[in-house]
């Protein structure tokens, strides 16, 4: 139970850190969805989040972790596995990818922990659109 509440607390921390990273996009007029995706990943482990994106919308996907000295990465691919993001950045505990969906369909948001002092690193993803 103690371990579970600790895990929950760190995911919550990861979410609040990620929301900080997304704040810049709120100021640019993006609507941030009140929902998050998260968990924990081992080093170099990747996860795919399938997502229906709509042509005409502009999206920013932000990823963050609460683990100091960890580095994360996030990228967006289309249904054929082709990188489609217009832009992306990575700054230590935060990363983000920007995509203007070229057509409506399923896209794959790939998240990864690229380096971390811990065996498992908690992470969270949120996104905004306009």
């Amino acid at each position: 139970m103690g371990a579970l509440s600790h895990a929950r607390a760190t995911i919550d921390d990861a979410i609040s850190r990620t929301l900080e990273a997304a704040d810049a996009y709120v100021k640019q007029g993006y609507t941030i969805r009140d929902d998050q995706w998260g968990g924990d990943l081992g080093l170099k482990e990747e996860k795919a989040i399938p997502h229906t994106l709509f042509k005409g919308n502009d999206y920013w996907f932000c990823m963050g972790t609460d683990v100091d000295n960890a580095r994360v990465a996030i990228h967006v691919y289309d249904g054929k596995g082709k990188l489609v993001e217009n832009d992306s950045w990575q700054k230590g505990k935060f990363a983000a990818a920007h995509v203007t969906a070229p057509s409506t369909g399923t896209y794959y948001v790939i998240v990864e922990v690229t380096s971390s002092p811990r065996e498992r690193t908690t992470w969270a993803v949120i996104y905004g659109f306009k």
């Binding site: 609507t31 969805r33 009140d34 929902d35 995706w37 968990g39 482990e45 990747e46 996860k47 795919a48 989040i49 399938p50 997502h51 229906t52 994106l53 709509f54 042509k55 005409g56 919308n57 580095r71 990465a73 990228h75 691919y77 249904g79 054929k80 596995g81 082709k82 990188l83 993001e85 992306s88 990575q90 057509s103 409506t104 369909g105 399923t106 794959y108 790939i110 690229t114 659109f129 306009k130």
Partner: protein, 298 residues
């Protein structure tokens, strides 16, 4: 690559020169001239380091998605109604009032029906926002609260529904949309916490069905490939089909759920091909019948 590197170095030199110009002392300039080669070497080294860092962390331009299904987090993220309406905003200004209809709020039906109604009424809220219809929005806000009460998640949406009414009164339509999205998310999360994820899926599905009925009506009246492209959601449809298939037999054999399942099966081939004006019309008919079934005897 070499040209790019050289351009970058020249740019760095220009920036460095312009910053040095601010000081304008002979000593500074001579220091720069004397150490020009050293600066140049340092800049090349810095540039290489930066470039190496980018290469080390840049994403591959192509990946093999087949290696991912085993580690997928979710089957698919169900988009918010706002995401669809956001695109519809950009496609022109249809007569939203003609798309709007009186929200049906019935709490006598089974829980499955109430969950579908809840999703449907939230979608109705989005139509009312597009039509800037304050009275309709208030009806929707009250309806969401009533239906949420009927399935035991009233407290979760109380603040949201109050905000829906308040923001609509002051004409803050963007904020109303945000609260409608939030109400949908909160209700689903509350149901999942109550170990009622099947009902949570039905809420999403109810919203999707009514949203798709409206979308096909709007696109059908002024067909464009961009508009029809919004219906290109085969994975989302499959996701809903699988959610129904995974339901316990008792819920799946519910007459209404059964009708919804058949409707989705009919829509599936129409979405899995190029979406023509005829298929838009047919999807509109099918979703219209599904909405009627959801509303009936509620």
């Amino acid at each position: 690559m070499g040209a790019l590197l050289s351009l970058k170095i020249n740019r760095y030199c220009r920036i460095l020169r312009s910053s040095l110009k601010l000081r304008r002392t002979p000593l500074d300039w001579s220091f720069f001239r004397m150490n020009r080669n050293w600066f140049r070497t340092a800049l090349i080294a810095a540039n290489c380091l930066v470039s190496f860092n980018c290469w080390a962390e840049s994403a591959p331009s192509q990946i093999d998605l087949r290696k991912f299904p085993a580690t997928q987090l979710d089957e698919v993220v169900v988009p918010l109604p706002s995401e669809v309406f956001n695109v519809l905003d950009k496609l022109g200004a249809p007569n939203w009032r003609s798309e709007s209809r009186d929200p049906v709020v019935g709490t006598r039906g089974e829980r499955a029906q109430i969950a579908l109604l809840l999703g449907s009424i939230v979608a109705e809220g989005f139509v009312a926002v597009e039509a800037a219809d304050k009275e309709r929005i208030k009806e929707v806000g009250r309806g969401v609260l009533e239906l949420a009460r009927a399935i035991g998640v009233e407290r979760t949406v109380l603040t949201r529904t109050n905000l829906i009414v308040t923001k609509a009164n002051s004409g803050q339509w963007g904020a109303v949309r945000h609260e409608l999205d939030g109400a949908l998310t909160d209700v689903k999360n509350a149901m999942i916490e109550l170990k009622d994820s099947q009902l949570a899926h039905l809420v999403s599905l109810g919203g999707w069905i009514r949203g798709t009925e409206v979308l096909t009506s709007v696109v059908g009246k002024r067909y464009s490939e961009d508009g029809a492209d919004l219906l290109n959601q085969p994975d989302l449809l499959k996701y809903f089909q699988r959610r129904i298939a995974d339901m316990p037999p008792r819920m799946r054999s519910n007459q209404l759920v059964n009708k919804i399942e058949k409707g989705l099966d009919e829509i599936s081939p129409l979405i899995n091909q190029k979406i023509t004006p005829e298929s838009v019309k047919r999807i509109n008919e099918i979703t219209g019948q599904m909405v009627k079934a959801i509303d009936s005897r509620a």
